[in-house]
């Protein structure tokens, strides 16, 4: 539609961002937040459920989750979820990504400092699940420095989820997995990142 030359600089205006200030601000805020969390964690390793959910040592990553809300009775519950979650210090963004015939999916981006169970608890607290409304939270991508293969137990600990829940996710193909032979038989090894990263979450 636009010719590049016509869009070219004149009076300081052109087609491209001089720099994506807003996004950069968010990025800087995120770095500040992570740095702040790391400092606070050094002071107190276990500071309660939501003060600083000191779950893991490597807090410099981002986690993406998809929350599926079924049997939605009030759309205002979803709206409240989208508005209130980002007020929590570990939540970067929350956005409705799909409205299906029987459920609504919300993409949530957090720091790695919140576990699956903590996030689920917070979601249920906001939605105040009543009248059969269901919530199902799954990790989509966990981007951290640690890219190693994990056992199911390690993955469960890392995600803050129950081992059985993680097994279910593995069986449903949510993660990249491989089987290895160990002294105690065949075991699953899980990578928390790649397969899930293919599912884009719009934020």
């Amino acid at each position: 539609m636009f010719d590049d030359e016509l869009l070219a600089e004149r009076n300081g205006a052109d087609a491209f961002s001089e720099l994506d200030d807003h996004a950069l601000e968010e990025w800087d805020s995120l770095k500040d937040l992570l740095s702040d969390l790391a400092d606070r964690e050094r002071v107190s390793e276990n500071s309660g459920s939501f003060g600083v959910p000191a779950l893991m040592g490597d807090g410099d990553g981002i986690a993406r989750w998809v929350l599926a809300v079924g049997n939605v009775r009030r759309l205002s519950d979803i709206l409240r979820l989208r508005q209130e979650l980002p007020r929590d210090p570990w939540c970067i963004a929350a956005r409705v990504i799909e409205i299906g015939p029987d459920r609504i999916r919300v993409g949530i981006t957090t720091t790695m400092r919140v576990s699956h169970d903590q996030l689920q608890e917070r979601v249920d607290q906001i939605i105040r699940a009543t009248d059969g409304t269901t919530t199902d939270l799954e990790p989509v991508m966990l981007q951290s420095n640690n890219e190693s293969w994990l056992t199911v137990d390690e993955a469960a600990h890392r995600l803050g989820a129950k081992v059985a829940t993680v097994r279910g996710w593995v069986e449903s193909g949510l993660f990249v997995t491989r089987q290895i032979e160990t002294a105690s038989g065949t075991e699953w090894r899980i990578r928390l990142r790649q397969r899930a990263a293919q599912q884009a979450v719009g934020v």
């Binding site: 539609m1 636009f2 010719d3 590049d4 016509l6 869009l7 070219a8 600089e9 004149r10 009076n11 300081g12 205006a13 052109d14 087609a15 491209f16 961002s17 001089e18 720099l19 994506d20 200030d21 807003h22 996004a23 950069l24 990025w27 049997n71 939605v72 009775r73 009030r74 759309l75 205002s76 979803i78 709206l79 989208r82 956005r95 409705v96 990504i97 799909e98 409205i99 299906g100 015939p101 029987d102 609504i104 990263a197 884009a200 979450v201 719009g202 934020v203």
Partner: protein, 244 residues
């Protein structure tokens, strides 16, 4: 020559028409509560365009158009942060193959059109026009100017919208309980509108612009969503207060 004032007092359409008719050269700056638009003119033709909203949200715009994934923008931002001197995000994304130059131009054009339509429908802000000597005598012979065509589209769209929606309205998510089958009844475009509303669009004409639907179709979708008690349409609070 310098001319400045309030967009409520001096309609943007009149301003553009005056610049074109008198074949003025110079810079028109439009300042709204959310955007700062700069238009460069040569002998009445628009030759450049800039927008703070576009500059600040190029990554988001490209994601919304489906040209890049959020991960790619994040990667671009990291590369941008590491670049010395600091490079433009759009250029970084082009360099890593995430997006083409044409896609960036498309996203910018669409956003510029939306900004203009919003300004025409909701003329809040100020303008200033500073004239200058024409730098390029050949401009007057230039044929179809793509920026002109975007502006023409914007003027037509705003006119069409105002003809059927003379007052501003807001859209909000209904508080009440919904029919369990309501979501299953929705068409794809209705789902998209509902999603945009849940994600924060609260002014009806902004929602219409984001949807890119023809106005009649948009109105039908809104009527259906309202009938299902999923959304509520109200007069814009500022207009309502003025009327009162």
């Amino acid at each position: 020559m310098a001319l400045y004032g309030d967009l409520n007092d001096f309609a943007l359409t009149d301003m553009l028409s005056m610049i074109a008719r008198r074949e003025k050269s110079g810079t028109l700056r439009l300042t709204t509560p959310t955007d700062r638009i700069t238009l460069g003119f040569e002998r009445g033709n628009v030759t450049s365009v800039g927008s703070s909203e576009i500059n600040q949200h190029i990554g988001r715009l490209l994601i919304r158009h489906g040209y890049v994934r959020e991960e790619q923008v994040e990667q671009g931002l990291v590369l941008q942060a590491l670049s010395t001197p600091r490079r433009r995000l759009g250029e970084v994304l082009i360099d890593i193959g995430a997006v083409t130059r044409g896609q960036v131009a498309d996203a910018v054009a669409d956003q510029f059109k939306s900004s203009l339509v919003r300004l025409l429908i909701e003329p809040e802000g100020s303008f200033s026009f500073t004239s200058s000597e024409s730098a390029n005598a050949a401009v007057e012979t230039a044929s179809a100017n793509p920026i002109d065509s975007v502006m023409r589209d914007a003027l037509l769209l705003a006119e069409e919208w105002l003809a059927s929606h003379p007052t501003r309205e807001t859209v909000t998510i209904s508080e009440g309980e919904i029919d369990p089958d309501a979501l299953a009844e929705l068409a794809t475009s209705e789902r998209a509108l509902l999603m945009a509303t849940l994600n924060g669009s609260s002014v009806l004409h902004t929602l219409a612009l984001e949807s890119a639907l023809p106005i009649a179709e948009f109105d039908q979708c809104v009527a259906h969503l309202t009938a299902l008690n999923l959304i509520r349409i109200d007069p814009h609070p500022v207009d309502a207060a003025n009327a009162a």
